[in-house]
């Protein structure tokens, strides 16, 4: 029963991240939303594969989560660098950051 609670927590984290990805205009919030989605999925994978009666852990979901963490670090890094360069090119292209500036000003 406890690991069902963890699985549902992972799922709800995924939905939170997904909502933030869609709704927030600031690029950093979108990137953090993607990260939260990834963390939710990892928690879900590990919690769903837990068995209290088995002697050893189930290694295949753990390996999948390790791979997933690595890929999430990669895409977070690339997305952050892209966001920095988009932000730098805003003075030459003022419409680019309009909604995200409003989002930032309101926070």
């Amino acid at each position: 029963m406890t690991n069902l609670l963890y699985s549902l927590t992972g799922l709800i984290l995924f939905i939170f991240g997904f909502f933030a990805l869609i709704v927030c205009a600031h690029p950093l919030r979108k990137i953090l939303g993607c990260n939260i989605m990834a963390s939710g999925i990892f928690l879900f994978l590990v919690a769903t594969s837990y068995r209290a009666d088995a002697a050893a852990i189930d290694p295949v979901p753990q390996a999948m989560v390790l791979t997933g963490i690595v890929v999430s670090v990669s895409f977070t890094a690339v997305a952050l660098i892209l966001a920095i360069h988009v932000r730098k090119s805003v003075p030459k292209n003022p419409q680019l950051g309009e909604r995200s500036r409003k989002d930032e000003a309101a926070s």
């Binding site: 799922l11 997904f18 769903t48 088995a54 050893a56 852990i57 290694p59 670090v73 660098i81 360069h85």
Partner: protein
């Protein structure tokens, strides 16, 4: 009488579209929760098969065996995703290090100088430990990259001004060794990325060491955020060339 000096809190109205998105997200949540509750228990699992073949995999830890031996193809592509991230970040701009050292704290310099050898030892030990306990290439590489990030932010000019060619060789060391081992699997009879059981332990350790170096350098390059100033076959750097496209 007290004047009412309470600040008026301005309520921001949520756009109606956000309510629609909220409603759809709630429906999606309900659907996914129903799906999770319907998962058949006990779950089908591959743990018994992995335990049966663990002796032939060359390592004693089941997660490392799955990661590097049984599902080695996924790990090979994962290391290449790292390389792809490094290529992308290097294609965009230069690493934004300040040209002169700002005021460096002597405590920070001394502490980082003391910590750097320990980071190398701990990273190397984690790579070695992967064969019997939790550990391996990614864990050791992450610790190595943490040490490199410490060196990068502590104004060690030798680290910030490292040349581009050793970095390129370091990034590609892991993927190249991995692909070389995969082709060696074909040459030594067997299939792509297959390890003979009596050689698997040594081959996996070599693979993990190469990947740990490459992972450490790539993660530190992710932090640095761009290519070095003296990159190969490039015009001399002019300050302000990265300040946005027209």
């Amino acid at each position: 009488m007290k004047t009412d000096s309470r600040m008026q809190v301005q309520k921001t109205k949520m756009a109606p579209l956000i309510w629609v998105v909220l409603l759809l997200s709630t429906c999606l949540t309900g659907l996914l929760i129903w799906t999770v509750l319907k998962i058949p228990r006990p779950l089908p699992s591959l743990a018994p098969e992995v335990a049966n073949r663990l002796a032939a995999s060359g390592v004693d830890n089941s997660v490392t065996a799955v990661l590097l031996n049984f599902r080695g193809y996924d790990t090979m592509l994962e290391v290449m995703v790292f390389l792809l991230g490094a290529i992308t970040i290097w294609s965009i701009g230069h690493a934004p290090f300040p040209p002169k050292i700002q005021d460096t704290s002597p405590i920070q310099t001394a502490a980082v100088r003391l910590l750097a050898p320990f980071v190398c030892i701990i990273g190397g030990y984690l790579v070695w430990q992967g064969s019997s306990h939790t550990g391996g290439a990614f864990q050791g590489g992450a610790v190595l990259s943490a040490g490199l990030v410490l060196l990068l932010i502590s104004d060690f000019l030798g680290v910030q001004r490292v040349k581009s060619l050793p970095l390129r060789l370091g990034f590609t060391l892991g993927p190249l060794v991995f692909v070389g081992m995969a082709l060696w699997g074909i040459i030594a009879g067997g299939s792509f990325l297959s390890f003979a059981p009596h050689q698997a332990g040594a081959l996996l350790l070599l693979l993990e060491a190469a990947c740990a170096v490459s992972i450490g350098l790539t993660l530190a390059a992710f932090f640095a955020g761009g290519r070095p100033l003296d990159d190969l076959r490039e015009e001399p750097y002019s300050p302000g060339q990265d300040e946005g496209e027209g």
